[in-house]
Symmetry: D3
Subunit: 69 residues, 6 copies
């Protein structure tokens, strides 16, 4: 029954359809295994965030990727 929201970078870093299905399956299995939750109502939402809109340490991911490349 829990609700899970996963927020990660999209665009050219977006997960594939298969990876998203695997994340949804994996996090559901984890909650069932650890907490014995009923999976029936367990909701997972994945948000893909543009790299200009995601910041770590005061810098956008766009900038971080430039520095590390």
């Amino acid at each position: 029954m829990p609700f899970v929201n996963i927020r990660l970078t999209g665009g050219d870093e977006a997960p594939t359809r298969e990876q998203k299905a695997e994340l949804i399956k994996g996090v559901t299995d984890l909650l069932v295994r650890v907490l014995n939750k009923n999976p029936a109502n367990l909701v997972v939402i994945i948000d893909e965030i543009e790299k200009d809109n995601y910041g770590i340490g005061g810098v956008t991911i766009t900038e971080l990727r430039k520095k590390s490349s």
Copy 2:
């Protein structure tokens, strides 16, 4: 004054502009009626989620729709 976030499937299941306006009006009226809240600062945000990004019971909505069709 409350804040409300409604997250639902988008794409070919997305609500129309009229339906979104009706949801925003309806949830605002509900909070005013039940809690006597001032509607002036009552904020509602609707997020439309791709069916690949929304999972229930460990399966994406994309897969669920295939099974039920």
Copy 3:
């Protein structure tokens, strides 16, 4: 199937158990009526926020209530 999050002030402004049940019922009915959604998986979460932790216009609700009393 949608997910709804309602965030409002708690403490001495918290809704009663009956009001919370009425909000959950009301917002579910609204989504069923406007969007014809299946209510079975429709999740609503209410968060009660302390007045020191909720700001409007740059001022906490704690301060706003003092000014208006």
Copy 4:
């Protein structure tokens, strides 16, 4: 680097400290494995929600538990 938010029922249904640590570890490992993400900045937040504040299908968890007991 992703951000994950897990929202589940608290109170007498709250996970133990060990279970919460296991969830945080498990979801981090999942994202590293599936998406090859750097775990260093991967943030997980667990919110425990009162059963009066969590609704499914228009009914609070408090009510659902009564019916199923």
Copy 5:
């Protein structure tokens, strides 16, 4: 280490890349200054919301902009 989510109108009201970088830098500096937080893991996510999907006082921003123009 805190997590910050900023939700604002997108489309023709969307902030520029430079403004988004400035917001991310600004809110990070604020949290470092006021709370002495380590900026290294401080995450900021900006969500741009369509004007049809954002309501204030029961009315969408789309409608509000028409009235005020």
Copy 6:
């Protein structure tokens, strides 16, 4: 008019009432300055998260604090 949510550790790391007021004022001023937003409807909510419920890099803050002390 934007909505801002700040999530940080509570308990013995919780900000004081004055710090929370300063954060709310500061983030509101930032959005007004950078984006020229109307502060009237600008909402800020601060969530204080228990250290057992907040994880970075797969480890709870509770564990991280032990290691660094």
